[in-house]
Symmetry: none
Subunit: 220 residues, 4 copies
DNA sequence: AATGAATGAGGCTTCATTCAT
DNA sequence: GATGAATGAAGCCTCATTCAT
């Protein structure tokens, strides 16, 4: 008879709490989500939550961390499929948009809650932004090294890219009638590539690379 | 005899509350600022505050509104001094950076608190972002109309510009040792102008327009 | 028309809270008394309590302080009526017993709660014990100086006196059927005077000093 | 083959829990010690504790009981070595001080925790005090019977003795820099013997009885 | 207009105890 | 016998808002 592994069960409960917290935070924001709400959503008791996590804050932090990790991993996986430096940057852009398009909740948590969680998380927020900017900067540096784009200040450019992406996603999140996030890709791509000095000829090639596989859905 | 106009006095009390709230919000964020804090800073009582404002939220909203108004007015004033479309866009950019550089508190309120204030203010935040993006879009449209830049999607471009600006300022606000915000202007300018398709030749002219008056601080 | 002085009203409310807390602590002990209990007993709201006091602990501390002050004041008043050193010591003893006999609650708070309040108040407890021991020591020192008793270690003797008093009161408090606290005076007096080396002849004079006024009731 | 007797093993686990609880209570007090703390210190689980004991309270009660038993046994052993009634009383006093001096933890539990444990243990505390007072009273009664001291109210005297001892130990426990508890013996002895009417001549003999063996520490 | 005392709904966290495995 | 996950009742404190004066 298939006994239930208690360790497994515990992990799953933990996961359930995390999931519940995730959507609760996404729906109402960090401050407006009570631990009771999370408990109710996870079908546990408040005490149960405090068995698995030391504090509400800890839950949030873990959520941020793993969410960011997942996103980064996905971007890196997508980028790895490309050879050409500019294509890598494009892949990164595309993946972020596609991911958020498919996981609106994830976007809410990462973009709105993080900022809205208050001063206590500024360091966290900072690190997250830095991380993504670094990621982008890496691809831009490669592109410069490969001669695909002229030498330029990849530091500020990556910040611009990140800020732009941030704003695009935020608008989509806050819009009354969202529309498709992925539809913004072609236009955003053009503007950002241009900002990085990618030759117009290369830009014109469009996102047509890789055939129709451009907007590969999320695996999750 | 020079009587104090009661209406005038009331207005000044109102103003004092607004000022106190402004710095309190900037210092501790919306959620972490108690009405008591504001009252203390304004040298009034809690009751006094509720005489002038219906709620804490209303204070915040008004603050956002007037702060944004001030910033927009200042940008428009600076832009009005320029003739050439691209120069106008540059002026807008420059003014925003210069203003925030001189009014870190203003930046905090507009960039950090707004986000941190919770879902209740999303509409407000939205409108604010929209407003600035529109402002930028207007200048870009002019530039397109004047043939200074090629026809392009000024909608997305303005969003990119705003997002970039947003991110640059946010980073500056959250940095451990801030550094000069205005120093980022030349690099940011180059990237953004490029993103809008401004010819390299025009970009190379630098921010040298208007001689040394480029970075004139605000009077406020 | 007799307007109500708001300051007066506030003070009275504060007092009401203090009184409520006093009996609540005496009845259930510090730890087992919830702030809600105090609020209910004081016919206020929890918030009302926190308007007047920063914390439950602060209430307790203030209570200890003022209660001890009252007792000390009363002892000193009684002692001041006596001239002879030994009579002073007797008066102190008598007053403490008489006071507690008339204010069982006071005794509970000072003797049981203080100890039971937990480690957080040890310093407080310490100081209180020290204070009373010092008081006693003062009278003993006077007696030695006056030659009423032989030179002796008044330090340890005062500790013994205090400890004895403490125990007598504690027993009375914890007894199933209390009996009269004041009835223990003659016997206790004899033992303690003996411990201080008071001559048997003087001891035999009994507590008859001051005629029947020996057990003056409390004023409070 | 030397199997481990399960009953024996269980007893040892029980013992381990008791020991752990003992030091935990001594360190943080009854209320501030969580069952989890005890479990951790005993290297068991919470469930394990509840297998051996019905409640936290029961552990405490048992601890008090056995600790008091040990102390009493030790006192009686020491007293049995003496013949002379006054010497017996002295031995009791000496032993208590010596024991606590060597087992500060024991003192903490018996003197501080008991009081701090709340109303639930008042009966326990009462009984403990009574028990010790009875012990002392017994020796005093013997002394009276033997004519070593004049007839006196041994009831109140024993209470005084106990209270004095209590206070001395409590002070030592709560002092910032403890000093030696045993050093207080000579002075305390003198005061207490005097309080019981022991002739000055006998008191002057000092604690010199039994040669240097006076303060032999306990083996535990 | 202003004051400041009062309210009370909630928020986060702790912890003795239970119980399925 | 033992484990550790789960429960849920309290507990202390905060704070936006109201209101008598």
């Amino acid at each position: 008879m298939p006994r239930i592994d208690p360790a497994e069960q515990s992990r799953s409960r933990r996961e359930r709490i995390l999931d519940a917290a995730f959507s609760a935070f996404a729906k109402r924001g960090y401050r407006d989500t009570a631990v009771d709400d999370i408990a109710a959503a996870a079908e546990t008791s408040k005490g149960g939550i405090y068995f698995h996590f030391p504090s509400k804050e800890a839950i949030f932090r873990e959520l941020m961390q793993t969410t960011a990790d997942k996103l980064v991993a996905r971007v890196e996986r997508a980028v790895a499929l490309e050879q050409e430096p500019v294509a890598k940057a494009e892949a990164a852009l595309r993946t972020v948009l596609a991911t958020f398009a498919g996981h609106r909740t994830m976007a809410r948590v990462l973009f709105l809650d993080m900022a809205g969680a208050g001063r206590a998380f500024q360091a966290e927020t900072n690190r997250l932004h830095e991380r993504f900017a670094e990621l982008i900067k890496g691809y831009l540096d490669e592109a410069v090294a490969a001669g695909a784009i002229p030498p330029l200040d990849t530091g500020i450019t990556s910040v611009v890219w990140f800020g732009a992406l941030n704003e695009v996603v935020a608008r989509w999140l806050l819009a009354d009638k969202p529309g498709s996030l992925e539809e913004t890709y072609p236009a955003l791509r053009k503007v950002l590539l241009r900002s990085a000095g990618v030759p117009e000829a290369r830009i014109a090639q469009g996102g047509a690379a890789h055939g129709g596989a451009t907007m590969v859905g999320a695996t999750r």
